[in-house]
Subunit: 249 residues, 8 copies
């Protein structure tokens, strides 16, 4: 039941066309539809800068094109994650405003410049060069959600001094995203240097006892720094999204 129908019903009660009992009966069943309002609100808040997202893995180029066309009608920003270069080649010609970011496997479509809505800077740090795709996904997501975003490459704990050279950059960030595979130690070290929230993203980089990223995940969950929370393995998008949420609190 939308707002028009509700008004019509109430007018009918008001004018005596519908009895109170009859209207009460109809309204008793209203509850579920009413939540629609929340849904609409939610959509609206999304349109204020939170992009819609399509998880590209396991979808064909044609399927992605179809979903994109349906969403673009009512959105200003749209992300497609986990897109291979091959798929991107097929998708991009249909959407002139879309751009493909090869290192993150991401397509970003936007109607116009995204206004900055986040309060501070989000800094995305990656431990090794192999973690870059995941970190880049976080970086681009945070950008598309209207944040100033900085980036620090390849500063893993095996050469901890590389990290310290950038202490100012690190201290200035309002929120930090740290992507690391293998032993997953970097988020703990970074979180020990700042008093800001750190979102840790384990990556599946490694072999053998890295258990597809579980070793890094468990290390991060056991961080001895308390300003660390963790998202799923390789979930760069989620980390960027969570950081954006935090940056608007």
């Amino acid at each position: 039941m939308d707002i028009q129908s509700l008004n019509a019903l109430l007018r009918a009660v008001s004018s005596g066309k519908t009895s109170v009992a009859n209207a009460a009966e109809k309204l008793k069943n209203l509850s579920m539809e009413d939540i629609e309002y929340a849904h609409i609100d939610h959509n609206r808040s999304l349109r204020k800068g939170f992009p819609e997202v399509i998880f590209g893995e396991g979808k064909t180029a044609d399927q992605i094109i179809g979903i994109m066309e349906k969403i673009l009608v009512q959105e200003h920003v749209l992300l497609v994650t986990r897109v291979s270069p091959n798929k991107a080649d097929k998708i991009l010609p249909h959407f002139p405003e879309a751009e493909f970011y090869n290192d993150a496997g991401m397509i970003i479509w936007k109607k116009d410049t995204i206004p900055i809505l986040g309060k501070g800077e989000i800094l995305v740090i990656s431990a090794g060069t192999s973690d870059i795709p995941v970190a880049k996904e976080a970086y681009l997501t945070a950008k598309a959600m209207g944040n100033e975003v900085g980036y620090l490459y390849d500063v893993g704990v095996a050469g901890i001094h590389r990290l310290f050279k950038h202490k100012e950059l690190i201290s200035n960030a309002a929120v930090l995203v740290v992507a690391a595979g293998m032993e997953g130690a970097l988020p703990s070290v970074v979180a020990g240097l700042v008093d800001k929230p750190v979102i840790a993203v384990p990556t599946s980089i490694g072999y053998g006892a890295s258990l597809g990223g579980l070793a890094a995940l468990f290390a991060m969950l056991n961080s001895c720094s308390s300003n660390v929370a963790v998202v799923n393995i390789d979930n760069g998008f989620g980390a960027g999204y969570m950081a954006s949420m935090i940056n608007r609190v």
Copy 2:
């Protein structure tokens, strides 16, 4: 908002005391409270014979007594699971209608005889004598929920002929609950003998590679009989509850 308030509001609209716009505004926020109705319905259905349950583990005797007193006001049947004999000794004196079933670690309180609501018989089978506490929990739960319930002890797969002696009993059941620890094979074998739904309950009985019941759990999930579904390890209550649900379909 309860049904009285809703009627009052509509009458106010009907009589012109409240404007349509004003009422619409109020009703837009109605949704969450409305779900209350479902809540009330749900309670009512419970009172028709589905007992309330208190998970006794980790609660003191005093806490259990307190919760029981609060619930008994509006219920006809009440189960308390995972009660040690010591706790039972302290609880029972407060509730003359309550009974303690030592082998299942369960207290059952009821106002009067529970009417039979289930359509067929539920049969509870246990593989070994050590699985009896879990099986008994299922048995008593199904009884308390208004079912005819049968029971078959100690018919594990190491002596499969013991099972076959009771084929008629097995064939007559409408729903079966099968509790087994160790290799967890019994539900598959039973399910292969009947064309009725079998609820499998892995128990934590075993040692070493039984992994606290995970070995039995995984075996049951991989049953080559398709009429098997599984509940949590040692969850006799859940199995009896699910069987009761099925027996009323």
Copy 3:
């Protein structure tokens, strides 16, 4: 030993051609063959509407064709699960009555319309669009076993209001099948809304810490709703089969 041989033996005893001792000896060894009767009964019950099933994965198109030909002689319905489109293209020309359902990867062959044998409606719910193949397998299995079956798409817990819009549909179902990957939370939420049995099917949809469906599986086994039982990861067929069993109790 079939019934004819048994009669012959007894007639020989009756007429004095065989001594009692001799016959007793023969009958002592009778037991195993006798179970054949059960076997025949079982087949008969299958023919009443419970279809035979071929697990297609890991079998070649030729192997599937061969098995189908052998079974079709004595069955009225036949399911083949986990069939790729390529295999289906090779199989279908041999069986004019067979149909391929691409989204479920299933071939269904039937001699004639399947009579409705289930008492109520089975409702199949899927959390995300990626869970559809598993949910569809459950849906088609339940259909082929003679049930009225409904279907609800894409109502995961991240947008719980989508679920509530369909509360009536949900309340009317006699049995529910809920397929979900990732965090596997939907069955618990659905089971909290109804007092009917819910069969939960974890799917392998997800990545990283979804552990190929184990995360969803464990979540479902730990459901705080007691009217939930679980089948193996991606086992849509088993869920549909179990739901059918329940719907005939």
Copy 4:
């Protein structure tokens, strides 16, 4: 090297008492000590309202008293987590300003009223009554760190309507902490209702396939809502700390 020594050295250079080469040599080795400054800064920021914490588990009452005495000299707030009532009885007499919170197993000592430093309200939600100790730890930590904190009990997904009754409370929070054991579904559902960051805390509540909280942990990491990040099992303190960090961004 502290700031006095540095000034002395530079004055010596300025006055010609020390040669440039000599001073350069000394300063080359300065780096490690220099980080001391950061350390001091860090301490200062702590004194602004971020409390020191003692993990009480595995420490005797005497050990805790000793550590507390050393810390209290220079701090304004001090938390001790995981304290049993027995230990608390021995500790409290030594510290008149300290209070013991039995349901969270926590001692909080503070010199004076903690000023509110967080921007919005933090809301702590717990799924079941058994999750309260963990949720309470988060609640008290966030309070002690200078936040307005709300609390919502016992709103698990098995009765999802209980949650919806409090939608306004939920929508008004700036940051949410959600503690849940068993299937760990609540954070996903809550996160689907708001566009605020949600910190999920799995608890070890459950049995059998709950795997000591791992089932809840994995469910939360696989949340289909993107505004969820996770801390270690039972880590209520960490969740409250992280939420405070976010609330000051």
Copy 5:
């Protein structure tokens, strides 16, 4: 139906008192009871030297006494495994022929000397002194089942020469049982020295990454010697039983 009843029925047929049709009907349902014969045969073979066994863990002394009394009527040998000294003190006074073996936690009751039924010698080897309880259980079980049994202590792979000193003993055994915890390497090494079947028993001895015996279990399953098969962790009884079975082939 026992053999007397069967004879009676056949005599009734023979004498014309019962019709063929009537008897056929009764015999058609005979199968399940008939398996009783197998049961009886099975018991008889047991009495020939294969002892009955009571798993003592989790049973009270009184329960064990009760079960023992029931079994002793018809058996010649009886084992009770996993008995604590305390329980043994209560049990032994009731059974003068019973003996308690402290290092294996086992009670053995026997009517008279057990005849040797095994063909060769069974050799039980233990890797470390901590593995002795498990190894001793295997040793005593094999003895009680009528075998010549040898024993080799403390010959783990960290000092492999200790093993080689006993090569003759090892070569002479017909079947070997090897118990080892920690890295579980000993069965592989022993099996490489002989061309006899080796039953490997992982023990739960170890700490940390020994995972309660799983590390040893997996090592043994991956043995690069092909004459190794494995029983459950700490299952000394099973290893002794299996070795006895093999020794009679």
Copy 6:
């Protein structure tokens, strides 16, 4: 040091050419080489009918041909396991006496008829048709090692009566090998019917919670029948080898 060198040294001592001290020194280091003798014995026992084996997986056809050529010089029987049809096509032309068994993925080469060395019959049982490759590997290995071997297909626990029809065959076997995937229940059931050693082989057949055969493996290790021992997942060769060892005890 071979036997010639030893004699030479002793003759030198005898003739006084070498001092006692000098010879003692040399002999002190003799130990390791001496074990060579054992090695030779071992080879001899192999040549009496225990075949050499090449694990074909991960080796190219050329590598297998090379190794075969080297071994064939001194052996009478040779097995190659895990060979694909493609590789077999390349290998067979080089060895006229070799045969490829497609369903087991095995090549067997033998100089002449293998004499029967085992005492009784080995019976290989497989639960499902998908377990046949593993069971066939066990069957062919046992044959090649000089045993009478029987075979029983497709008698899984979902239709347990199929197993009972063959009770005589089962009772007559001296050793049994039982291969099963999924829930891995068959070995327990079979072992409950006989008093002979049963070698259980878990197979990787299954999906989802079968965990690549671990579910079956754990079920078998927890067998409530004590005459069961287990080999590695899919290790048909090992099972056949172990059964042969047992059959010669």
Copy 7:
């Protein structure tokens, strides 16, 4: 800040151009850059014979060529690990001094002969022929780092006498690297023979319950010999590197 800038600043203080306060302020922030010195030292130590390493897996030939070109300017030795023959074919033509080692999947480039820096001999032992790639990686790494390195093939525990033939070789080594898959028992046995440090490398060789090398890993961590430490599964490079470190202590 490099050493020139530091001198310039101090000269400015010395000459009065910069005030002490001003310089102190600048130097307070010096710390992070200062660590650069350490970095340079580190590089220098590398140039003394410790090679740079590129992990080749997941990088294209072009990417590897690019990184190699950048590194070669300032290094004397360079390793590329996990290179397929195809990639090697594309890479080698660009670097005349580089060599490809097919069995280890490694490219080694060096300017000139590597001087021997290690004190004793490193001995690399592999259990089976399938472990050779990992063992070879360790061997080549240790060579490239300036060590005398020996090699022992195919001496697994199933034929332990093969190992003993080489006892002298084993006793003479200063450090040992032992690579083994399957049950991972070899390092324990070797470590029991010597009083030298043993670096154990589990390999992913095996199937079924080898769990991709985890079975071997856990066995090695549980070694009952205390002179064993372990590196990641298949990490031949790390083992060779660690052994080199030890050989220079």
Copy 8:
């Protein structure tokens, strides 16, 4: 056969009392006993400073006293690990030269001062105060084995600057032992600062997702620094032993 017997035999050959053939026969069987020599050698090397060790956990005070008395006759140093204060109180009165180290749970007995045999200094570092028992075990073991040993407390990665203050101490060590629980990141960070071998000891300190030390263990095995090797969880003794081995290379 001991060295006296060997000499006697050779003298008999030399004097013609024993024929060459006869002596050859005896010596052919010598091999296994010969390894005794190695054993003796091994013992001797132990007496040069490598202590004997008794694992105290699970042994009674009386058992430990008994074993100690037997060993002390022929050793100069003796360690007993994992001793509770209660047991120590009972053990110490029997051995005046023994000392109990409460924080490490260790008894050390020595005849006289242990000579320094290690070449450089071993540095033991612990991440948190809770890791001290494990680190102390390593420290005392290395001391007892004749090394100069340093110690650094409580320098975990959450406050990485604490570590850097001790850079000189760290750089001067020849071998490092690093004990850490929770996320286990410290060994990686330390190893990145030095070019010396680092032995990493995971501890079981932590809760929830620390999995009893497995999280730290896996993190350490995945260290991105190559100069790290790992021992079992809580195995401080093994780490100290391995470090001593390395320090004598």
